[in-house]
Symmetry: C2
Subunit: 263 residues, 2 copies
């Protein structure tokens, strides 16, 4: 990341970058109007047509220009404010945020993270079987002790080097997890394509020294610092869908994310 010394960027008063932007709405489309507008504003920001600091122009004018009601325009703007792309100030206007916003922390899988980073991840499934839940797993998944759960142990590599050892538990009745599919994609992707909509997760991120077994698997020295993550994910009915206990090679991986402060 290189430092960027911005010249203070201001729009001339009364003018705004949006006025010269073509905004087209398709009222026959099934896509909501506010969403069409939000998408166009977002891409204008991404492509620099709306530069950081630019004022958006007031909502009333915009709604007149587009032939939309003001609440609809507000809904579009609100969605971008929620994403952190815009800032509204009463009495001032709506501005494009200066700092580059990357995606906020998501409930994404390591697989997606690595793939997005252009590193072709591979997975070796070390274990994939159904067992009765031990006490700790039962507690995490909120199922009775001894209930059948699927246990999954996977070793993830990128560019030939091991990056993480992943241990996951899922309520067995939830879905089938064929080993060959697990080796070609991420667990979370499989959950989504099985129609499970994840709603929330509780995570804990820590660190500890590698055990002998972990060291051997991950090609590290015993006692080397490992990043650990435990996570229980829930669907929108509140069912626990997955409990994972992962260790990452700290020398090869760190969690990076963007946080947004909600007012």
């Amino acid at each position: 990341m290189s430092p960027v010394h911005r010249t203070p960027q201001r729009t001339a008063p009364g003018d705004h970058a949006l006025s010269s932007l073509p905004l087209l709405l398709d009222r026959t489309s099934p896509v909501p109007l506010y969403h069409q507008l939000a998408r166009q504003l977002e891409s204008a920001i991404e492509q620099g047509a709306l530069a950081p600091g630019n004022l958006l122009g007031n909502e009333v004018d915009l709604s007149v220009r587009l032939g939309l009601s003001r609440p609809t325009v507000r809904q579009a703007i609100r969605s971008l404010v929620d994403k952190g792309l815009l800032v509204r100030r009463r009495g001032v206007g709506t501005q494009v945020v200066h700092s580059k916003v990357r995606r906020p922390l998501e409930l994404s899988s390591l697989y997606d993270d690595l793939e997005a980073a252009g590193q072709r991840p591979t997975t070796r499934v070390l274990r994939n079987e159904r067992i009765p839940a031990a006490a700790d797993v039962a507690a995490a998944l909120a199922v009775p002790e001894g209930a059948e759960v699927t246990v999954l142990e996977r070793l993830r590599r990128t560019r030939g080097r091991p990056v993480a050892f992943l241990c996951n538990y899922l309520p067995a009745p939830l879905l089938e997890l064929p080993t060959e599919r697990l080796e070609s994609t991420g667990l979370y992707r499989m959950l989504r394509s099985a129609g499970l909509t994840l709603h929330s997760a509780r995570q804990s991120v820590g660190a500890r020294g590698a055990t002998a077994g972990e060291a051997a698997l991950l090609d590290e020295a015993e006692g080397a610092a490992l990043l650990t993550m435990e996570r229980t994910a829930y669907d929108d009915t509140g069912r626990a869908v997955e409990y994972g206990s992962h260790v990452y090679r700290a020398s090869h991986y760190a969690f990076e994310f963007q946080l947004l402060v909600r007012p």
Copy 2:
């Protein structure tokens, strides 16, 4: 955390727990009506008057009962959906989410975290001075190399034991940071009370072994696993407000947080 084996909880059709709940609005209050409503619903959920799985009752009835317009009621409900407390399903209704939602990951300080956990944190300021920015700090804060920045080194303890070593850099012109106030409160609290509104932050969480100096400060052995966090925080004009490089004793601290999946 103890496992809770929930009995499937369903409201009788046509009935909903909200109907017996007193909801009072004060139209003379400066607090927006949608916010008054949201607050009351939220506390009803927290206190169990609205149990997980309960249907909220449809929006139209609720708006009639309260003498509000439907958009206003929707705005209240939307704010709770955004917080992860409620789930809306078209054709079904609005339900209280089953799983207990803790606060999502916030741009909070370690100080606040510890204090919220009931552990009285103490801070010793090891260094508090103004220096010219080195290249890496200048890059992180997006200021010219050599610009004056405040450097802060603090050792945080809880229950007499060291927990973290915190190193922070701030653009010097931003605010005064008297050492005595730093020892009695958190940095982020000071930023907020100085009128700075934080907007976003980029974080990176990793791990590594302790150096000899860190080991001595933190009462660990050399090479012991430490949790590391680097963060640059921005205000809503996009200015970098703070760059921090922290190390935590992994044996005493982990990051815990709740993630919400936004649809």
